[in-house]
C-alpha cells in the first residue's frame, strides 16, 4: 500500500501544479501578444515579493482568503454551495464592529472583548447562512439561489444600518462613515514583519486554528464522516442513518460561522471599524480558493498564499506599464484549468486503482479453477 499512497501524493500534486503551469503559459502568451516581455514581468513580480511590505500584505490577504475558503469548503464537502459567504461576512463584520466599538465595551478586559467580538461575528454569520439552510430543509429552496439573494439583502441591510442615525458615525476628517473606532483594548495586535511598515495580522493564528479544527472535524469526528458521506452519496448516507435535513442545517450554520470570521483579521488588526471602504468580495475569492485547494485544509492554505501573493505583487505591474488585470486573467485561468485537471486526475486515479486491484487478484480465480 506504500506505493499506492506515494502515488496518490504526486497525483494529488499533479493537478494544481499542472494547472498553474498551464495558467503561466497562457499569461505569458497574453503578455507576449500585447508586447510585454513575460520573463521581465515575472521577474518584477517575484522581485516585489522579496520586499517585506509586499510579503506581509500577502500573508494578510491569505489569512482572510483562507477563512473564506474554509467557510465555502464546509458546504462543498456536502455538495452545498454556500455562495453567500460574501454577505455573511460583511453583515457579521459590520455588526461585530458596532459591538466592539460600543463605549460600554471599554470597561471589559481585552480578551473578553475580542472573544465577544469574534463570537458575535460567528453568530451573525451562522444566522445569516442558517436562513438559507432553514429554507432548504423546510421548503426545498436551493441554497444557491437563497444565498445569492441573501447577499443582496445583506448589502441593503448593511447600507441601512451603516448610517449616522443608526450604527455609524462620520469618520473624522473625511466624508466616509463607519462604525465607531474600536479602542486599543478591543484590537488584536499584529506581528511585526522585519523591514515592513505593516504588521502581519495577529488573527493569522485564528485562521490556522480554524484550519486545524476543519481538518479534525472532517477526519476524526462522526459528524465529519456523516458530512462527507452525505456529500458522496445522499442515499447511502440516509440508509446509514444520517438525518440529511439536520446535516444540511448544521453544515450551513457551521459554514456561516466560519464566514463570520472572514472580516475579523481586517477589522481587529487593521481597520478597527467597519466603514464604507471595508473590503468586499472576499466570499467569492473563497470559492475560487476552495476549488483550487480541493477543500483540503493544507491545499487551501497554499491556494490562499498563492492568491494573496498574486494580488499583492500585481501592484508592481502598474509601475512597469503592464496592466495589473493580467493577474486577474491568471487567477481565472488557474481556477478553470485546475477544475478540469482535478477531474482528469480523479478519473485517472480511479482507473489506476481498479487496474491495481485487477492485477493483484489476477491469478486468484484461475488458480481455483484448476482445483475445480
Amino acid at each position: 500500500m506504500g506505493r499506492l499512497s506515494l502515488r496518490s501524493v504526486y497525483l494529488g500534486l499533479a493537478a494544481p501544479v499542472g494547472a498553474l503551469l498551464f495558467a503561466l503559459l497562457v499569461c505569458a502568451a497574453i503578455l507576449g501578444a500585447t508586447g510585454h516581455p513575460p520573463l521581465e514581468v515575472a521577474e518584477a513580480m517575484v522581485g516585489s515579493l522579496e520586499r517585506p511590505r509586499t510579503a506581509a500584505n500577502s500573508l494578510n490577504s491569505a489569512t482572510t482568503y483562507y477563512l473564506s475558503a474554509v467557510a465555502v469548503a464546509i458546504g462543498f464537502k456536502m455538495r452545498l454551495f454556500n455562495i453567500g459567504v460574501d454577505g455573511q461576512y460583511r453583515l457579521a463584520a459590520m455588526l461585530a464592529a458596532a459591538l466592539a466599538g460600543a463605549s460600554f465595551m471599554d470597561a471589559l478586559p481585552s480578551v473578553l472583548r475580542i472573544a465577544m467580538t469574534v463570537g458575535a461575528a460567528m453568530l451573525v454569520g451562522a444566522v445569516w447562512a442558517g436562513i438559507a439552510g432553514f429554507l432548504k430543509v423546510t421548503r426545498g429552496v436551493s441554497e444557491v439561489i437563497s444565498t445569492i439573494m441573501l447577499n443582496a439583502v445583506a448589502t441593503a441591510l448593511v447600507a441601512f444600518l451603516l448610517n449616522p442615525d443608526r450604527l455609524a458615525v462620520t469618520v473624522a476628517g473625511s466624508n466616509n462613515i463607519g462604525t465607531p473606532t474600536i479602542t486599543e483594548g478591543g484590537r488584536v495586535p499584529g506581528f511585526g514583519y522585519p523591514g515592513s511598515s505593516s504588521d502581519v495580522f495577529g488573527l493569522i493564528l485564528l485562521a490556522a486554528a480554524v484550519g486545524v479544527a476543519y481538518w479534525f472535524m472532517l477526519n476524526r469526528t462522526r459528524f465529519g464522516f456523516d458530512l462527507k458521506a452525505t456529500g458522496q452519496s445522499q442515499s447511502a448516507a440516509v440508509a446509514s442513518g444520517v438525518n440529511v435535513k439536520r446535516m444540511v442545517l448544521a453544515s450551513m450554520l457551521l459554514s456561516g460561522a466560519a464566514a463570520g470570521l472572514v472580516g475579523m483579521p481586517q477589522l481587529l488588526g487593521a481597520s478597527y471599524s467597519y466603514a464604507l471602504d471595508f473590503p468586499a468580495g472576499l466570499g467569492f475569492t473563497g470559492i475560487a480558493i476552495a476549488l483550487l485547494g480541493r477543500n483540503h485544509p493544507v491545499g487551501m492554505a497554499f491556494a490562499a498564499l498563492l492568491w494573496g501573493g498574486l494580488d499583492q505583487t500585481s501592484n508592481v505591474l502598474d509601475l512597469s506599464g503592464v496592466p495589473k488585470e493580467i493577474v486577474v486573467i491568471m487567477q481565472g485561468v488557474i481556477v478553470l484549468s485546475v477544475v478540469i485537471a482535478y477531474e482528469l486526475v480523479r478519473r485517472y486515479r480511479l482507473r489506476l486503482e481498479q487496474r491495481d486491484v485487477g492485477r493483484a487478484l489476477g491469478t486468484a480465480p484461475a488458480a481455483e479453477e484448476v482445483r475445480a
Partner: protein
C-alpha cells in the same frame, strides 16, 4: 480455428483466463456457460473488438492478430450479434451492402449486389428478398438478414451470440435448419448459448465455460442436459439449506397494519402484518416491484408509514429514526448496493464505518475510531473473503461481488438482532454465496432474526424457516419451505394461486 490460453483482465475482474477452444472446420461448435462466465468477452476478442492480454488465435493453422472487427472480417470471421444491427428504414439490399458498397465508377452497383444476395440466399436456403424494407420483417427474417450480411462479406466462420434469445420456438427450428445448411456448405459456426437443450440438438462439439475459463469439452452424444448444467455451474454447487430449526418463541420484529403510500398517493404496502422470532428467517418471495423495496425502507425508517406499527424486541420503533433503529441492532443489506450500500469513492475501511458511525469499533463518543475500524475491516476482508489488495482502496475498485461481501460482513458485525437482507448473494460467486449463507446460518443459531428478500427461489426455500409471498403490496400467501416447490411459489408470486391460498 483455435484459441489458446486467452486471458483478458478488466478492472477488478479477470473476464477470461486461460481459455482454450478448438473448433473443427465445417462443424457447429457450441460455447455454453452461465451469465458472466466470460462468453461475451471471448467473442469480442475473437471478433477483434478487444485484444487479449495473453494467448493466441489461429485460423486454419495460421496465427491471427486482430486489432479491429475489420481484421476479423478480412480473416473470414463474421459475427451475428444478439441485438440486430440493421437500419429499419433501409431495404435488405441496402442494409447488406452498407459499408461495403460495390462501386462502378462513382455509383453503387446495386444490380451486382442484388444478384449476389439472391445467390447467397438461394445457396444457403435463407429465403431473403433483397428489396423488402427491414421494417417489414419479422425477428427471424431479420436474423437471416444478419447472417446474410456476414456471408456477403465473405465470412467462413460465423459467430452467433445467443441467437435464439429473441426467437420463438418455431423460429428456432428454422434457424437450426439454416445452420445445418450452412454447415453442409462447409462453413464453421460458433454458437453461443446457455440453453442446453438447443445446444444439444444442434452442436457437433460443445465447450463449457465457467468463471472465465474453459472447463470441459464434450460432444452431445456423451452428456445429458443435466450433466452439462453441472459442468456449467461446477460440481460443488452449494445448496442453500438450514439444518435444524432454531426458531424460538421470542418475537424480534412485530409488524402490524403496515401501510405505505407512494408520493403519488398509490398504496404500495397495504395493511401488512407479520412477526419474526429470534433465530427465524422469514423469506419474502415476490416478483420485483410488488412492494419489497418499500417494505424494507419502511422497516429501516427511510420511508415514513401512513399507518401501522413496527416493534423491535417489544419496543415500538415506528417513530424512530434510521440511526436509532440501526443502534438498536438492525443490520441492513440493501438491494441496490451502489445507491445505499457503499460510498464508492471512499476506502474500504471508511465503508466499514458507514451505517455503524455510532458504534464500536468505529466510534468512541463523537470521535471516529480509525484504528478500530481499520482492524475490523481487515477481519471482514479475511472472514468474508473480500478480494482486495488492501483496505485503503476505494470501494469502486472492487467487483460487485466483493463489494457485496464487504457489505454483508459489515452488517453482520456487532451482533445485530435483526438482519434485513435484500438479495444478499446477488452478484457474488458460488464460493462466496456458500460463505454468506453459512454466516447467516451461524448468526441465526445465535438468535438472529432475518427478513430475507430474494429473487432466487432456491435460496428463499433453502434458507427460510417460513415463507410469505408478496403481491401488489400485500402478503397473499404463506408456505412451509420444507414442502413448497419453486413452481408453487412462482404461481403464487404472479397471482395465479391467489384464490387457492
Amino acid at each position: 480455428m483455435e484459441l489458446r490460453g486467452i486471458t483478458k483482465r478488466f478492472p477488478g475482474v479477470v473476464a477470461n483466463s486461460d481459455v482454450n477452444v478448438a473448433v473443427r472446420g465445417g462443424t457447429v461448435h457450441a460455447l455454453v456457460g452461465e451469465n458472466g462466465a466470460g462468453k461475451s468477452t471471448l467473442m469480442k476478442i475473437l471478433y477483434g473488438m478487444q485484444g487479449p492480454d495473453e494467448g493466441t488465435i489461429a485460423i486454419e493453422g495460421a496465427p491471427a492478430d486482430f486489432h479491429s472487427p475489420a481484421d476479423a472480417i478480412a480473416a473470414g470471421i463474421g459475427m451475428v450479434h444478439q441485438h440486430f444491427m440493421l437500419a429499419d428504414n433501409l431495404s435488405v439490399l441496402e442494409n447488406v451492402v452498407l459499408g461495403t458498397e460495390p462501386r462502378t465508377g462513382g455509383r453503387i452497383d446495386f444490380r451486382a449486389a442484388r444478384a449476389r444476395i439472391s445467390e447467397i440466399s438461394a445457396r444457403y436456403g435463407l429465403g431473403v428478398q433483397p428489396d423488402r424494407l427491414v421494417d417489414e420483417l419479422g425477428v427471424g427474417e431479420r436474423q437471416r438478414v444478419e447472417i446474410l450480411k456476414v456471408l456477403y462479406r465473405g465470412a467462413r466462420i460465423l459467430i452467433l451470440d445467443e441467437p435464439t434469445a429473441v426467437l420463438v420456438p418455431q423460429e428456432v427450428d428454422e434457424l437450426f435448419g439454416n445452420l445445418r445448411e450452412l454447415k453442409a456448405e462447409g462453413l464453421t459456426i460458433l454458437f453461443i448459448s446457455h440453453k442446453l437443450d438447443e445446444v444439444l440438438s444442434v452442436a457437433d462439439d460443445i465447450t463449457v465455460m465457467r468463471r472465465g475459463t474453459t472447463v470441459a469439452r464434450v460432444t452431445p452424444g456423451e452428456v445429458t442436459a443435466r450433466q452439462l448444467a453441472e459442468l456449467m455451474v461446477g460440481s460443488a454447487l452449494p445448496v442453500p439449506e438450514l439444518r435444524e430449526s432454531t426458531v424460538t418463541d421470542t418475537p424480534v420484529l412485530e409488524v402490524s397494519g403496515l401501510t405505505v403510500a407512494s408520493p403519488e398517493g398509490r398504496t404500495v404496502l397495504d395493511d401488512m402484518s407479520f412477526t419474526i422470532h429470534a433465530g427465524e428467517v422469514l423469506g419474502i418471495a415476490g416478483v420485483e416491484g410488488n412492494g419489497q423495496a418499500e417494505l424494507v425502507e419502511a422497516l429501516m425508517g427511510i420511508r415514513s408509514l401512513d399507518a401501522g406499527r413496527i416493534a423491535l424486541r417489544g419496543e415500538d420503533i415506528t417513530k424512530q429514526s434510521t440511526r436509532k433503529r440501526r443502534d438498536a441492532g438492525i443490520g441492513y443489506i440493501p438491494e441496490d448496493r451502489h445507491r445505499q450500500g457503499v460510498l464508492l469513492e471512499s476506502s474500504l475501511w471508511e465503508n466499514r464505518i458507514l451505517g455503524h458511525q455510532t458504534k464500536p469499533p468505529c466510534a468512541r463518543g463523537p470521535l471516529l475510531d480509525r484504528a478500530g475500524a481499520r482492524a475490523d475491516t481487515e477481519r471482514i476482508v479475511a472472514e468474508y473473503d473480500v478480494r482486495t489488495p488492501g483496505i485503503d482502496v476505494a470501494a469502486t475498485a472492487l467487483s460487485g461481488g466483493n463489494q457485496q461481501k464487504l457489505i454483508v460482513g459489515r452488517e453482520m458485525s456487532g451482533e445485530p438482532v435483526l438482519l434485513i437482507a435484500s438479495h444478499p448473494t446477488r452478484g457474488v460467486d458460488v464460493g462466496a454465496q456458500a460463505a454468506i449463507w453459512e454466516h447467516i446460518r451461524k448468526a441465526r443459531a445465535e438468535h438472529l432474526a432475518v427478513l430475507l428478500i430474494s429473487a432466487d427461489l432456491d435460496e428463499l426455500i433453502g434458507m427460510s424457516d417460513s415463507l410469505a409471498v408478496i403481491l401488489r403490496g400485500r402478503l397473499v400467501a404463506e408456505y412451509d419451505p420444507r414442502s413448497v416447490t419453486p413452481e408453487q411459489l412462482g404461481s403464487a408470486m404472479t397471482g395465479a394461486a391467489e384464490e387457492v391460498s
